[in-house]
């Protein structure tokens, strides 16, 4: 935890709090504008009461981050965070999604080795046959584990 000197305001807790407060205000307005939120239930409770209360709670916490004593603090991980890191995260998530779709439309034991092979190679494991060995071993171990437990794997049916 460091104070925000050279990191720029955008990386401070204050900026994060401001973003959260704005997003929660938009969320509150969205929920408030919905017809379901004002619908009265049999017990007299409004359907949107808890959701709106939650949006207000998020708003208050965001505002607290804007004004509290730690507002100028930049967390260590945020300081070193680059936009490329978010792209990396999204790429890995997309790869996970592709693996799942692959498993659904083909089979787990076909999609999993490809997923592990790509990911280990991207992570810098060399030589390539080490990636291949890892892919085969990890898939076999997990296939055995899920089979033992009786969990249904995607694409199995």
């Amino acid at each position: 935890m460091e104070s925000g000197g050279g990191a720029g305001w955008l990386k401070t807790n204050q900026a994060v709090g401001a973003c959260i407060a704005t997003a929660s205000a938009v969320l509150f307005i969205y929920i408030f504008s919905q017809e379901w939120a004002h619908r009265e239930l049999r017990d007299g409770f409004r359907l949107g009461f808890t959701a709106m209360a939650a949006a207000v709670a998020i708003l208050l916490c965001g505002l607290a981050m804007v004004f509290d004593s730690q507002r100028h603090v930049v967390e260590e991980d945020v300081r070193s965070l680059k936009s490329a890191d978010w792209l990396r995260v999204l790429a890995v998530l997309l790869l996970c999604g592709a693996f799942f779709l692959g498993a659904i439309y083909s089979a787990f034991h076909l999609a999993a080795p490809v997923f592990v092979l790509i990911l280990t190679y991207v992570f810098g494991v060399r030589p390539w046959w080490a990636c291949l060995a890892a892919a085969v071993i990890i898939t076999a171990v997990l296939y055995g584990l899920f089979d033992l437990i009786g969990a249904e794997l995607p694409g199995a049916g």
Binding site: E75, V89, F115, L119
Partner: protein, 534 residues
């Protein structure tokens, strides 16, 4: 009162091949999870949770509790071996444990860590077994409004004590509250807050949420680190070297007994910290280590002493049983792992809470027996395989991350064979990554998410009983007023005293003073011997 029939039934449920096998598997996986830096007890339990609903209740509890106990102890293995704590709970073990290792006393340190862990864990489990039923009797006297305020108090405590920044702890709780409102209304089942997405009308399920927040979030963080560094190719080559030369002198019974004071400190503080929502085993370990160090300055804890290992390990393992006390007595999980164990019980049809002692005494007794039995397995498996697990600590992250990611995707899907659960899990993986980067604690989110429908139901039942009179519902009894005062005082104290920041300061102070001592030791060792020295 002890229900003998239920106890017999519980003994029958636990001492089955199936349960014993899953308990052993849980401890075995748990010690491995703990020994591998990057995997925590929560990640392990989150990944295993979807696999438990096909099991019998005792087998499911055996797997999860065994994993939890094993993981808390397992962190000490890599902490002692490589000065890289497998879990944050074991960070305090590094100070003395690794110094002992450097002096060729690694085996002694590992055995001390194991025995201190098992001793404190066992005694704190007995404490749990004694306290939880008594508190449940008190909880049974609570009406809907008292239950509502108790949950609000727990959430405030959780938000205030989780992490060093109060606003972030409370933000996490508020996010959990919001996510908990997505889906069906708890009393009327009318769909709400679904953003027009039809498959959200059933709500967000706990399993994809916890797998996303804890397992996927942690692995995304790890993946980013790996892709930034790319320095892992060499590690793969060197991963399987070293460690097997862990022969050396063992631990004598006299040495074990000489650490009774530190183990007692760990037991007392760890049990207390475990029962409070939000603090967790890392605080238990550091608090116990700091108190033991200042209580006996003559022992020079921090310079490679068995007493330091005993204090830290007793402190973290003593939280394991007591963390279940608020769950069993009030239905309020005190930690993320307790929430997951609560979810496993709920999946088995036994919703945790004070009435569980009346409705499902056989499951409660099974849980108690498994808590005690888990220590024996921890002792046996830890004693036999600690040195093998030490090698596991060297498993390269480029292999670990894909393994956990595949398990996360399949675990989220296997829960109810619903592809949308995978989408939810991936979304919360992104949220979890963001929370880790911005240091927003995850536990309040999960626990508040679980409490939201129960709290809302309690409030609305109170309103129904009191004919929509909000004042009477919220402040209608002395106990409710007392709890409201508790909430106000706690919130005020959290902003004024900054309990969590002080806890963090104790942790950092312990870490810094020991790092300074390590540097001094290193300088001493590096200095060329002078003729004037004796």
């Amino acid at each position: 009162m002890l229900d003998i029939d239920a106890l017999h039934m519980a003994i029958g449920m636990v001492f089955q091949l199936d349960t014993i096998l899953w308990l052993a598997v849980g401890v075995t996986i748990g010690v491995g999870v703990g020994a591998m830096p990057g995997l925590t007890a929560t990640t392990g339990v989150a990944l295993m949770l979807p696999l438990t609903f096909t099991m019998q209740p005792a087998a499911a509890l055996g797997l999860l509790i065994g994993l939890y106990k094993g993981a808390i102890y397992g962190g000490s293995i890599s902490a002692i071996s490589f000065a890289t704590p497998g879990t944050s709970e074991a960070a305090a073990t590094v100070f003395d444990g690794h110094k002992l290792m450097q002096r060729g006393k690694g085996r002694k340190a590992m055995l001390m860590a194991l025995y201190a862990s098992v001793t404190a864990d066992l005694l704190s489990d007995i404490l749990t077994i004694l306290i939880a039923p008594m508190l449940a009797l008190v909880a049974l006297q609570f009406g809907p409004s008292e239950r509502f305020w108790l949950m609000v108090l727990a959430v405030c405590l959780l938000g205030a004590l989780s992490g060093a920044h109060l606003a972030k702890g409370m933000l996490s709780a508020a996010l959990g509250l919001f996510i908990g409102t997505i889906g069906a209304d708890p009393l009327t089942s009318v769909s709400r807050n679904t953003f027009g997405i039809w498959w959200l009308s059933d709500g967000i399920h706990l399993i994809p949420l916890v797998i996303g927040i804890f397992a996927m979030g942690a692995m995304l963080e790890r993946a980013v680190e790996i892709m930034r560094e790319r320095g892992t190719t060499q590690r793969l080559g060197s991963a399987m070297k070293s460690m097997m030369s862990m022969s050396g002198e063992g631990l004598t019974f006299r040495e074990y007994l000489s650490c009774w004071k530190e183990m007692a400190i760990g037991l007392g503080l760890g049990s207390f910290v475990g029962m409070l929502p939000g603090l967790g085993s890392t605080v238990g370990a550091f608090l116990s280590y700091s108190v033991a160090k200042s209580a006996s300055p003559e022992k020079k804890i921090g310079t490679g002493r068995l007493e330091g290992v005993a204090a830290a390990e007793a402190g973290n393992n003593a939280t394991v049983g007591p963390t279940l006390v608020p769950l069993l007595a009030f239905g309020i999980p005190g930690s993320a792992v307790a929430a997951l164990i609560g979810a496993a019980l709920a999946l088995q049809g036994a919703t945790p809470g004070p009435r569980m002692f009346d409705l499902y005494p056989h499951i409660i007794y099974s849980l108690f027996i498994i808590l005690l039995l888990g220590n024996l397995f921890n002792l046996g498996i830890g004693r036999m395989f600690a040195f093998v697990y030490a090698k596991l600590g060297e498993l390269p992250p480029p292999l670990l991350v894909p393994l956990v990611m595949v398990m996360a995707v399949i675990g989220a899907y296997a829960f109810q064979n619903n592809p949308y659960d995978v989408v939810v899990m991936l979304f919360f993986g992104l949220v979890g990554y963001g929370m880790r980067v911005f240091r927003i604690p995850e536990a309040p989110l999960i626990i508040t998410f679980m409490l939201t429908p129960i709290a809302e139901e309690s409030l609305r039942r109170g309103l129904l009983i009191n004919e929509q009179d909000w004042i009477e519902t919220l402040f209608g009894s002395p106990l409710a007023i007392g709890l409201v005062v508790g909430v106000v005082v706690l919130t005020w104290l959290s902003t004024r005293v900054r309990i969590a920041e002080r806890m963090q300061a104790v942790t950092e102070e312990a870490a810094h003073s020991d790092a300074a001592e390590s540097r001094a030791d290193g300088a001493e060792a590096a200095r060329p011997s002078s003729p004037t020295q004796p």
